[in-house]
Amino acid sequence: MFESIGEVVLLFWRTLLALPQAWRQRQKVFEQFFEIGNASLLMVCILSFFIGGVIALNFGPSLVEHSLTNAVGGLVGLAIAKELAPVMMAILIAGRIGSAMAAEIGSMRVYQEIDALRTMNINPIHYLVLPRMLAIAVALPMLVVSSILIGWFGGAMVADMNNHMEIPFNVFFSDLKNIVVLKDVCNGVFKSFCFALIIGAVSCHQGLTTIGGPRGIGRSVTKAVVNSIACIVIFDYILTRLLLR
């Protein structure tokens, strides 16, 4: 396990060193960026709407019952911006994009395409890892911003329409504005940036170290998703602690 962690850190470091190559790889970065956005945006919208709704539904009636109506907007707003949007979206992206990264790079490794790149003096980190890391590092925070807005909207809609709350839209957002500050949203977006790097590094590493045939690729995909999610949860705690105001 420690060897794998070391390898992931080393891969991340080598990708950082490859950053000056980013402009040359811009075409691939755009392709990957489109791939991530295109594959995930609809799912992000649906998930975020219902996450916002379920948070409002879970806590709203109890808060209203205890005369804390004006806390509903703030609670939903904070929960989504600081925790649920970054973590849930990171888990979603680890499942959808991290698995695809590990599978694609893994099959390239198994079918000697990466060896072929090396024989042509093409660095696989420049060619394969850097574009994916950059694309996910930009795409995930953008998806999280969308997720936060849609989650708030979902929460507001449920708070407005549910018989036990009946909090109007403008009141919900006014309460939310009183509690949630820009820094909370920025913290959530920053977390998602860190999660994106984790997903990218872990998934690309799993792909590059794939051995065996189709079974090996399957194993790498599973490991990429499971390890990414485990790292996301652990780093979520660490980052939350560091960003505590």
């Binding site: 079918y111 395409e113 024989t119 042509m120 003096n121 093409i122």
Partner: protein, 252 residues
């Protein structure tokens, strides 16, 4: 003149005492041989004798435990030597990038190293594909090609580098006899046109005796004989003779 006719005068290759272990199992047990500039040198041997591992060492994909590899007298391994000599490997499977078209595969080296403008790369790719008999396939995807066509695309991709040393890993495996002959002729034609040094790893006896200037036979990680095809045929060693004359026994 076609793109692949550029001057790619061959280099010499010397391998001395090459050893490699994988998890305690010795795959290469002190391999020694020498390839002269511009010759076609075939390394033959049964499956599992260490041929592909040897090839990976020559191209720098594996590090030896001991021994040395010299190109034109310079040790392979340092980035300076790697940059100085152009080497290409034609993989057994072709190893084409499946997400790229045939044209993109062939032009990948030039594109990634920005050696020519895109329009020129397109022209070079078209010329090289024509050279290997694959005109008008540039826009096809690798999965639309037959096994033989994939191998020829792999050769075309190697030619773009204008190699001085070209290594072939089982170039006729999984091919029908006609396609094998096409590949063999392509290798001979390349030597004639570019004087490139060719090293072929294969267990195909027809290919080896058809194209080789010299042949080495490797058995269990050691070279047991090196010589011209005639010399190898007459080499009196039971292992070599069994390998060269293996045939079916059918009773009437």
């Amino acid at each position: 003149m076609n793109a692949s006719n550029h001057n790619s005068s061959g280099v010499s290759l010397v391998v001395r005492g090459l050893r490699k272990n994988f998890d305690g199992q010795e795959v290469l047990k002190g391999v020694d041989f020498e390839v002269r500039p511009g010759e076609i040198f075939v390394i033959m041997g049964p499956s599992g004798s260490g041929k592909s591992v040897l090839l990976k060492h020559l191209i720098g994909l594996e590090e030896p435990d001991a021994g040395e590899i010299l190109i034109n007298g310079e040790t392979v391994g340092s980035p300076e030597v790697a940059a100085k000599y152009r080497m290409a490997l034609v993989f057994q499977s072709g190893a084409l990038l499946n997400s790229l078209t045939v044209g993109e595969n062939v032009g990948l080296y030039l594109t990634e190293h920005r050696l020519k403008p895109p329009a020129e790369i397109e022209k070079v790719v078209a010329e090289i594909l024509e050279d290997v008999g694959l005109k008008d396939t540039a826009d096809k995807m690798p999965n639309e090609l037959s096994g033989g066509m994939k191998k020829r695309v792999a050769i075309a991709r190697a030619l773009v580098i204008e190699p001085q040393l070209i290594l072939y890993d089982e170039p006729t495996s999984e091919l029908d006899p006609l396609s094998s002959v096409v590949i063999g002729n392509e290798i001979l034609d390349l030597k004639r046109r570019t004087h490139v040094t060719s090293l072929i790893v294969s267990h195909d006896r027809d290919l080896a005796f058809g194209v080789a200037d010299r042949i080495a036979v490797i058995v269990e990680g050691k070279i047991v004989t090196v010589g011209t095809p005639e010399e190898v045929k007459q080499f009196n060693d039971p292992l070599v003779q069994r390998f060269l004359h293996a045939d079916f026994k059918r009773e009437n």
